[in-house]
């Protein structure tokens, strides 16, 4: 085998989450009361545009969640096959150029020379302090001063064209598929899409996709020969760092909710439905948890974990595994501190629902407590759960950045927007200023959080019974 797969803890949870989402999708498709609001989400223009952005982020995160170890070329002394010790993801393999083309230290976006002066030994034996040429960035240029901008423009245009061609192929495929499905002529389908007369807002979807593909095409073409977003202190490509950070951000946003969800739903509904001492115990639990400052709890846990890890260094096969465990712990502790809000909401809702006539009727029909909870109460609070999840997601992505900034977030070796911002603290104090790490982290995070927030708004509106009659 040329490689062996490595399944990290968080990878396993990501796949579990995917399975849950897939099951939910199948289930929702079969129930009119769930299908209708989700169709409304898809039929909204903001909904579909943000969904495409989120899917783009999601697929990068997913590629980064398939981990493996490559086979080494030489077998070891005993002749057994040896595998490289470093754990790579599919994304690493795709971006292996970006990953391996390390410069010496800082360089600005599209630069051909380092950001800092260095002493160069001239062939004539003198030492010259100047900005040395980059090893990879713009290395093919003979005279960077003269050729650089022409070359960048040329390559950018090539990349944009490639993106546009790819998009055009997709559009043709879509139109043909629609024409066959609706049994209409190609021009009729095209006309409908152009005039925005389709039920799914294809025009918006395709425009978003065009924008995305142009961006991907241009950047990937340029990234072959330049450091598009510059390099950081150790010469690592910032674009690569930002892309790798996507997985961290998404994981924090989704795994945390996955972890807190069962507790919040179960305890919230139990408290509201059974009332009495059950309610007292659960309320006591979450008021206590709520009154401890969240940051304190997180700091304590992460610091304890750090001590444990340094004492048991040999328990971890690789750095990646170690960082992964820390990420998982962070998700866990964030989950522990964030379930109380949803739990409170659900308790209130269950208190209301338990008195409603159809629950009373179920009692009168002799239906058991468990069935009442799963059949009558849970489906009727699901919209609250979905809305909370969507709204919490962006908050958690931002929380990661803040926690990493105060050094109690993810492992320093792990790529994350928080770590990038953390390092930017010193970079901004330099002269001339190193602004690109911070800017890259900001743009990537901003796009994700904005898309998630807009999407959450659309989801909330779609599920709001006052805005739509089901």
């Amino acid at each position: 085998m040329p490689l062996i797969p490595v399944v990290l803890w968080t990878d396993a949870l990501v796949f579990l989450l995917l399975a849950v989402i897939a099951l939910f999708a199948v289930w929702a498709a079969r129930h009119a009361h769930l299908r209708a609001p989700w169709l409304r989400v898809l039929h909204s223009r903001v909904g579909i545009a943000t969904l495409i952005v989120l899917l783009a982020y999601g697929s990068i995160g997913l590629l980064d969640s398939v981990h493996l170890r490559l086979k080494l070329d030489q077998p070891d002394a005993a002749g057994d096959i040896r595998y490289a010790p470093e754990v790579l993801s599919l994304l690493d393999l795709i971006l292996s150029d970006l990953r391996t083309q390390q410069e010496k230290t800082y360089s600005a976006p599209f630069a051909t020379h380092l950001h800092t002066k260095d002493a160069l030994n001239q062939p004539d034996g003198t030492v010259l302090r100047t900005y040395p040429r980059l090893q990879y960035g713009g290395a093919h240029l003979v005279d960077p001063e003269r050729d650089r901008w022409d070359d960048i423009t040329h390559r950018a245009l090539t990349g944009l064209t490639k993106g546009a061609i790819l998009w055009a192929l997709l559009v043709v495929a879509l139109i043909l598929w629609q024409a066959v499905r609706q049994q209409q002529s190609v021009s009729a389908v095209l006309g409908c899409i152009l005039r925005g007369r389709t039920r799914l807002p294809w025009r918006t979807a395709l425009s978003t996709l065009l924008l995305l593909l142009l961006l991907v095409g241009g950047i990937s073409e340029l990234a072959l020969t330049y450091h598009v977003l510059g390099t950081d202190k150790v010469g690592e490509n910032v674009l690569y760092q930002a892309l790798k950070s996507i997985r961290t951000g998404l994981l924090i946003g989704t795994l945390t909710t996955l972890i807190m969800l069962p507790a919040a739903i179960l305890l919230g509904i139990m408290a509201g439905y059974f009332r009495g001492w059950v309610d007292d115990v659960i309320q006591y639990l979450y008021t206590t948890l709520n009154s401890i400052p969240g940051v304190l709890l997180i700091a304590a846990t992460i610091l304890m974990l750090q001590v444990y890890m340094s004492n048991h260094a040999d328990a971890f096969a690789s750095l990646v595994e170690r960082a992964d465990l820390r990420l998982l712990c962070l998700c866990l502790i964030l989950g522990v501190t964030s379930w109380t809000g949803l739990c409170r909401l659900l308790r209130g809702e269950a208190l209301k629902l338990r008195e409603i006539d159809y629950v009373q009727a179920a009692h009168a029909l002799g239906v058991g407590h468990f069935t009442i909870i799963t059949r009558h109460i849970l489906p009727n609070v699901m919209h609250i759960v979905l809305i909370t999840l969507a709204l919490d997601f962006s908050g958690l992505v931002l929380a990661e950045a803040v926690l990493s900034y105060v050094n109690i977030g993810v492992d320093p070796t792990m790529h994350s927007w928080g770590n990038m911002i953390n390092s930017a603290r010193l970079e901004l104090a330099r002269d001339p200023v190193v602004w690109w790490s911070l800017a890259a982290a900001f743009v990537f995070m901003f796009t994700l959080v904005l898309a998630a927030n807009l999407f959450a708004d659309v989801v909330r509106d779609a599920f709001d019974p006052r805005l739509n009659r089901v």
Binding site: Y358, Q360, A362, A364, L365, P379, V470
Partner: protein
């Protein structure tokens, strides 16, 4: 359309106070507008009360909002004119209109609970209205507010000024609303279902107050209501609205003597009445047509018993008749020659209707089974108590009890209906839930076929769940919106493992749907696809799924329109005859009681005050509360109207019931003993029980 306008006053001297001409309002998306008010023409004179009558969804409230120009954002007035004392209202600017609203044209709303701001005191809220129209100094405002509060009959107005809306009862809040409406000395008062949310005794208070205010100030009043009884007692003229159009206008007396439009006739005929006991209520089939459709013919044609081909094609024009009447019907001439033929056909044995003699008391009551009295009761309830503890303070100590139900004894017999009557807050719903053990009773006993139900565990109760079922008041809240009809109705069969296989269950559900008069195709649909009446049928089907012996009907018709109510009452009656069910029929609406019930128990503040056969209790009430309750029910037939016994104040809180007889603070016949001792039960004959000192004293004398 060349419609002649109705002229209520043949040789009207001057322009009427309010003249609405061809008012047309549309609602919703402009591409497919709903014509919610369509060419409405109506006049209103000083000192006159005109009732606007119709079922829900006919556009009554939107007419009122159009007059006030307070339509929701999606609504627009597209044609017509509204002239108030010579001023055209529809062309006024918004600023000018604000002066008119409240100044000349005031409105009171249906729901007093939500129309007042809960964080402001009553005085502030009325004062705000006064200041707007008078701009007076604060001392003058205060005295004006006090005058208004006195005018609407609020006791101790000075104390009320500093109270908040939650400290007042529903009737009080409606009075406050009226005081605010009167603050600007309006000429026209629009009352949108002002008493629908109130109990009958309070309704009587409010209606009387409205009349007296009108008599003093010469207000013109547009009374919007669906209650024919209220119309008969308060209005001089009425206008019947159907699907956005007026179908008939007439003076009230003439209308009730002989309604002309088939819709008006059906509406009158579907009112339950003691005379219709052995018959069936007339049912108007179908429902109000959707207003977005292009309606070519008469809007009532689908439900009309007298429809002919012309009605389907031609839109009937407005016809002005003699005596200030008008009607929109092609066949009015033929129909008015034969007075009320459709009614007699529909309910053959109710011809007594036309006889104005007081209801013959005992024509039907004992006909079904004279042996019923010897029968063993299916269920006996003795001294049932449901007390809810009140917790206070940090340690949640019990500081008192809400005595929602305080010692109720009832018997239910197979094939018989016991009506439990009382005003809201008297605990009647709690009795039903306590019977089914949906709220745990705190005392007494409920024995079903000799087996005590109180104190049984959740699991042991399941054996009895099959036999005891319930139908709720609100058909919109009583079904899980996330389940299909097949699963909702089959839920009990599944839970009690009577039919564990889904296919068997669905077969049984299809039978049940058939039984309650619904299409078995409904199995795979969701509750929101059904109308209120259909949903109530679904709820009845769910209750019937387990073959129960007893069904508690908790106000099953109070959320429904009159015509739909008739359908449900007929269905309940048929099912009782077919299946020999026992009903505990809980209601606040005394008019349905004689139609359905065999016995009646009147509840006041958690206790039964009078209990006996329906005809005896309703015709010869003994307890002062029963008397007052009955006298407050609005009656259509003027010859059967009783003198309304006015009850002062509201029902006290069940937290601190008055000492002695609970009713003594409001009782017109109160005696000294009533203040100290709760009366013991007095038996009148074999079947009647009354709890009243006056009755007991009358017997011993």
């Amino acid at each position: 359309m060349s419609e002649s306008l109705p002229e209520p006053l043949p040789e009207s001297q001057a322009e009427p106070l309010l003249q609405i001409t061809e008012l047309t309002t549309i609602l919703g998306n402009p591409a497919q507008p709903l014509r919610v008010v369509d060419g409405l023409t109506l006049t209103l004179d000083r000192g006159e009360t005109v009732a606007l009558l119709g079922e829900s969804g006919c556009g009554k409230s939107l007419t009122a909002l159009s007059l006030m120009r307070l339509l929701p954002d999606s609504g627009r007035i597209v044609a017509g004119s509204v002239r108030l004392a010579g001023t055209e209202l529809l062309t006024l600017t918004e600023a000018e209109m604000r002066q008119v609203r409240g100044g000349q044209l005031a409105m009171i709303f249906q729901e007093p609970q939500t129309a007042l701001n809960p964080v402001l005191t009553v005085g502030t809220q009325i004062g705000e209205a006064v200041r707007l129209y008078q701009g007076a100094a604060s001392e003058a405002v205060r005295s004006r507010v006090l005058t208004l509060l006195r005018a609407v009959g609020i006791p101790a107005p000075v104390q009320r000024l500093t109270e908040y809306p939650h400290q007042l009862s529903g009737g009080m809040k409606q009075r406050i609303m009226m005081a605010m409406a009167l603050a600007g000395d309006p000429q026209v008062l629009i009352a949108d279902e002002p008493t629908t949310a109130l109990d009958v005794t309070i309704q009587a208070q409010v209606l009387r107050l409205l009349k007296s205010v009108q008599a003093k100030s010469g207000l013109a009043m547009l009374l919007i209501t669906h209650d024919l009884g209220v119309v008969a007692e308060t209005a001089e003229r009425l206008a019947v609205m159907y699907a956005g159009q007026l179908v008939e206008t007439a003076p009230v007396a003439a209308f009730f003597a002989q309604p002309l439009h088939p819709y008006s006739r059906s509406l009158l005929a579907s009112l339950p009445d003691a005379n219709q006991r052995s018959g069936r209520l007339l049912v108007i089939p179908g429902r109000v047509p959707p207003l977005d459709a292009q309606l070519s013919g008469c809007r009532f044609v689908e439900r009309c018993p007298n429809a002919e081909p012309r009605c389907h094609q031609e839109h009937p024009a407005w016809r002005t008749l003699a005596d200030g009447r008008g009607v929109r019907c092609h066949r009015v001439d033929e129909l008015s020659i034969h007075p009320a033929p459709p009614l007699v056909v529909a309910s053959a044995n109710t011809t007594v209707d036309s006889a104005p003699t007081p209801a013959p008391a005992a024509i039907t009551p004992e006909t079904p089974t004279p042996a019923a009295e010897v029968q063993v009761p299916l269920l006996t309830m003795r001294g049932l108590q449901v007390h809810f503890p009140i917790y206070r303070g940090l340690l949640r100590r019990i500081v008192g009890h809400v005595r929602a139900v305080d010692g109720i004894s009832l018997d239910l017999y197979a094939g018989r209906t016991l009506a439990l009557v009382g005003e809201s807050g008297c605990g009647k719903t709690t009795v039903g839930k306590g019977l089914l053990q949906l709220v745990p009773p705190t005392g007494g006993s409920v024995r079903y076929r000799g087996q005590e139900l109180i104190g049984l565990s959740h699991r042991r109760l399941r054996a009895f769940r099959k036999d005891l079922q319930i139908v709720f008041q609100d058909p919109f809240a009583s079904m899980n919106p996330r389940m299909v009809v097949g699963d909702i109705i089959g839920e009990g069969l599944h839970a009690l493992r009577i039919l564990p296989k889904r296919a068997d269950r669905l077969r049984r559900v299809a039978e049940l749907l058939e039984l309650v008069g619904l299409d078995p195709e409904a199995i795979n649909r969701y509750p929101h696809e059904f109308s209120g009446g259909q949903r109530q049928r679904l709820c009845i089907a769910r209750a019937l799924a387990l073959d129960p012996r007893i069904i508690v009907c908790d106000e099953p018709t109070s959320a429904l329109d009159v015509s739909v109510q008739a359908q449900i009452l007929n269905l309940l009656k048929d099912l009782q005859e077919q299946l020999g069910l026992a009903y505990l029929f809980i209601t606040h609406d005394l008019s349905v009681v004689p139609y359905l019930a065999h016995k009646v128990a009147v509840m006041y503040l958690g206790r039964v005050v009078e209990h006996g056969p329906v005809d005896e209790v309703l015709d010869d009430p003994r307890h002062p509360y029963t008397k007052a309750l009955l006298s407050a029910v609005p009656v259509i037939d003027p010859t059967r109207r009783r003198q309304v016994i006015q009850l002062d104040g509201d029902m006290p809180s069940p937290r601190q019931p008055p000492s002695g007889c609970h009713f003594h603070p409001r009782c017109p016949e109160v005696m000294a003993i009533c203040r100290h001792h709760y009366p013991v039960e007095t038996r009148l004959g074999t079947k009647r029980r009354v709890c009243c000192h006056a009755v007991a004293a009358g017997l011993t004398d």
